[in-house]
């Protein structure tokens, strides 16, 4: 097709079709992959074939985008789960840290419900036996409140630790928990208390040195 051979009318028609096509492409560019070129198969027009091919391309592109956006959505969902898991691990589990030989530290964060208190006890007692621990420091700075039965359990856990031949220090007791302990009339014979984890560490370092 030689542009010079076209009549003015044909040129105008061509120009209009090109403009139509470009407007369709602007929809595509915005991100609407459902857009399609108008192909008039009744009239034989030189651009029909081109437009039909472009429609196929757009459809294919749109399908690919949909697939990749589904993929992206799935990836985000998985990342969210991993993030949830990481956050949950921090709060749900009880990391037992061996600060140095014979000294175990348990920094407790989050919510101390009944399930967690027993899980903590089991892990701790097992670790004390395995590592032949002499000093256990349990830091409950983040724990503002505990149910009375759970506090009771804590004290019994301290007793178990003593029975295993280790010393149990409790640090970061909140005023509320202190009140609960007093209110329940619990004996604190098996527990050494310090105001903070730092204080406890300083104390045990000096004990170990002597």
């Amino acid at each position: 097709m030689n542009v010079d051979d076209l009549t003015t009318e044909q040129l105008d028609d061509l120009r209009e079709r090109v403009v139509d096509a470009l407007i369709t492409m602007s929809e595509f560019e915005i991100g609407d992959y459902s857009t399609q070129f108008k192909v008039d198969f009744r009239k034989r027009h030189v651009l029909n074939g081109v437009f039909a091919s472009m429609n196929e391309m757009i459809a294919a592109f749109g399908a690919e985008q949909e697939q990749s956006s589904a993929f992206r959505a799935e990836l985000e969902r998985k990342l969210l789960i991993v993030e949830k898991q990481r956050a949950a691990i921090r709060e749900l589990s009880t990391p037992i840290i061996e600060l140095w030989e014979g000294v175990l530290c348990l920094p407790v964060v989050g919510i101390m419900d009944t399930a967690r208190s027993t899980e903590m006890t089991n892990s701790l007692l097992q670790a004390i036996v395995e590592k032949k621990t002499r000093y256990t420091i349990i830091d409950i700075t983040g724990i503002e409140v505990m149910d009375t039965r759970t506090v009771d359990h804590f004290m019994r856990m301290a007793k178990s630790i003593r029975l295993l031949g280790a010393e149990c220090a409790l640090t970061g007791i909140s005023p509320h928990i202190a009140q609960t302990v007093v209110h329940m009339g619990l004996e604190l014979d098996d527990v050494v208390t310090h105001r903070s984890l730092r204080d406890a560490l300083a104390y045990y370092v000096s004990r170990i040195r002597t």
Partner: protein, 146 residues
Amino acid sequence: MAMYEIRDPIDLYAPRQGVREIGANLGFGRNDCHELAIVVSELASNIVKYGVRGSILMESVQDAVRGAGLRLVARDQGPPFYDLKLALLDGFDDRGPIDPATLLKRGGLGTGLGAIVRFSDSFDVEALAVGKAIRVIRYRLRPKNR
């Protein structure tokens, strides 16, 4: 106000965080929010352990006498309480006292329901076509004699 699906242990994390935020927004103090988190935690743990799967709904309530509060509705698909009065006792389940071996196997202290009741102002259980619903309400202003 908020609904959480509960099926696995990891599902405990979100509602525990959520109730603290919702509680704070409703004007509950920090310790109160912490206690609410324990309530939610015990409810959710029970769903995971015995309820097969379920959900926890959190919504604000307003009582004519007691004022503003938060209602937690824990639904599960598990069996109903055989004897609720027994279950509420510390160290008991719905059939009777829990022996130490069983307690060890189940995890927990057998005092979860007790903790829920101690930290809330109203507690009731409704049997559903499948499973049950436990409704717990805690008011912002609690009577002084608790």
